[in-house]
Amino acid sequence: MIFSSLLFIFGFFPFAMLIYFLSATFCKRIVVLNFLLCLFSIAFYYWGSGSAVVIIVFSVVFNWLLGQRIAASRSAATQKWIVACGVVTNIGIIFYFKYMKFFLDSFSYFFNLPPFDPNIAPNLPVGISFYTFMSISYLVDKYRAEHSKCSFLEYFTYLTLYPHLVAGPIVRHSELSADLKSRRIDLDKLYEGAIRFSIGLGKKVLLADTLARTVDPIFAMPTGELTLGLAWLAAVCYTFQIYFDFSGYTDMAIGLAFMLGFKFPENFNLPYQAQSMTEFWKRWHMSLSRWLRDYLYFPLGGNRKGVARTLLNLLIVFTLCGLWHGASWTFVVWGLFHGAVLVVERVLDKKFDIRPSGVFGVLLTFFLATLGWVLFRSTSFAQALSFFGAMLTTVKDFSLTAFPQGRLREFLNIELVYTLILAAFFSFFPERWRVLICSNQQRLRIFVEVVMASVLLTLASSSLALNTFSPFIYFRF
């Protein structure tokens, strides 16, 4: 089940919230509320994932027990061993479910062996990348003594909380520990939650899904039919699609958490306004960036071991970041690409005191991100290369009118044009203007928010229904 489905919005969510509110109003015991949340979260996860629920339950029990052992142990060496055991086990689980097939396929390809039976690869459990990283962070933080004691029920609630279960953000235990012990649901939280959820739903359904209707057919085209216009249209649309899709989903998660009494960390901060790729990664999927920084980059030495080692660390971190996004070489190279750009930026900055800034920096960052997203979206290197070829070399073919170049016009419908304008507006609208408006006109801000959220909720849920519609036109021969 995903948040942007009719079943969730009009089935699961109102039912779960009603029970939760009634319990919060009449019972008020945090244990009961946590227990209810666990119940709903498991039901939410089981719906669609089935038996994979066993893996997450195992993960909860295993990591909580290790956490208890770490807390109980007085020897640093023992604690280290327990953490190492936990990290290896968690990585082993994710490796088995997510990467085994990838590595076996790569192995057989590089050593020219017959391909492995695809049936040996298990189905990928939903959200495993997220809750595995959360589990690792819990163990490491426990080792670092960065958070207080928590009961099994609190930990179960933390790891399985349905707002972050499927697509993050990657929340650390310390960020939720206070809310797990005591939380209050008031009008402000409900309001913030409703606003964030509506905005997220609007981003996902009205912007991202609309853009996907252009992106998907172009990426499905035979590569020979790609033209400059089509390739750029698909690339730019996908650049906006992935942002509004992911940040929309995160907004919904944050909104749901608010309504349940939790506060999740932000995950996006207008990433396409970044003036460099280094800044981009401080604004894009921030919870992952923080995780990689704290649990990978710093342990590798960060920037404390000289320039060469720093650059190498960056490459390692981003290569693994690519691999985290998907078990495919295109993701690995995507990560490597970002790592390489960051290395170049760092060298230019440190050695030559050159750093992109202003509009040029924003445009350059957007361009580089777009190139990266083509790699990210492509199903193979051949497809990615065809896209790059069409985007960068076939200028002479550009035409709006001739066939097959005229196909560009098929995609440029008014809905897409408006969607692109809105996507660009919400991506590049200067943050300082928004802050200025919000700080000076509190009532106006709330009024605009209320109207916007109501409209978005109405339009987005109607749009979800419209997507299920198969019109009847008998004349279609």
Binding site: L6, F10, Y46, E410, N413, A465, S470, F477
Partner: protein, 387 residues
Amino acid sequence: MNGLLKSFLVAFFFLWCALGYLQNAFHFIRIDPVTETRDRIAKPAGEMITSIFTDPLYYQKYEYYFKDSFPLRDLFIRFKSQVDYSLLNYTKEIIVGENGWLCDKKLMLQLQETDNLSDAQLDTAVTMLKALRDDLAAHSITFLVVIIPLKPSIYPEYFPERKVSRRNPTGLDRFQNMMRSSGVYYVDLLPVFMANKHESPIFFKTDMHINNLGTHFMAEAVADWIARDSSVARSQSEPLKTQEVQEFSGEESKSLPILFPVKERHAAKYVSNSIFIRKDEHHDDYIISKFETQRTDLLPGVLMFGNSFMLRYETVGFYNLFNYSSRLLDYSSFRNIDSVISKESSTAKYVVLQVYETQILFHLTSLLKNWYWSERYIGVAQSLKKE
């Protein structure tokens, strides 16, 4: 004030999310269901509480069912379509042209695909027509092809260039040229329609078909062709009596689907002094009036056939039609042309094949079965003595 605004949003938000449950309980909103190509998905068998543990795909089936049976689905679909249509002049399925003209997007794509057919592909179709022509010629029957251009071809001015791009020459132009060079007779309706399109629309604005006026012009062109070919004079036509249609909603309008359907006031001029063959909208239930042939030495003033299934009968009869459905079966394949001929009277002189422009594409690309165009659109003018 701020608290009031916040309370309003919170109340609205939760009420909105609970709408499905409330509608299920109280049925407080009534809305016309949207028309679709498929039946709505039925609720999966079994109780949810047990089935989710026994059937691994139960959740998927239930989600499909929920999407289709969600109580406010029809309202939401109509609402969003109305917003798109009213604000953006845009809908997912239909091209919204100017001045109330609509065109099915898939139809437009088919037209573009037709334009893109290669000469070799078009030649395949012409070869089949030649075979049919030769079969009929062996029985002294003249074969005539009539291809009806679709409204984006006749009224491109209502469909802006950015929405409707066509190749020049079109697939139809090239196909007719190939028929001409292959000796397959055809009636070129393009100049006929272009010459008559302005006085009153000859296509429905909200439907893909030619209206009765269009059918009339087509039939006139066919009758003229037969008259010329047979050297038989045409009878004197009485002036076409017309009747305005006040509020017509065609298939394209119904497919939008919006809260307030697009209606056209002067969509068609129904010919009140003609006889409609079509009595029922359902294709298999045509009851055909019988027309007694009084004289066989003159061509009828107007004959109409094919997709609009209309015959305007004047002073002379030329055809005694039976139940059209049984005739459809006769024409279900080119292969059983012998059966067709044996069922026609020995006086049959002309077989007219009428198809719409995009049929060229369908026939060739086998999107539909090969028999499709013959099954639906063949019309026969017979009982005409060829001197």
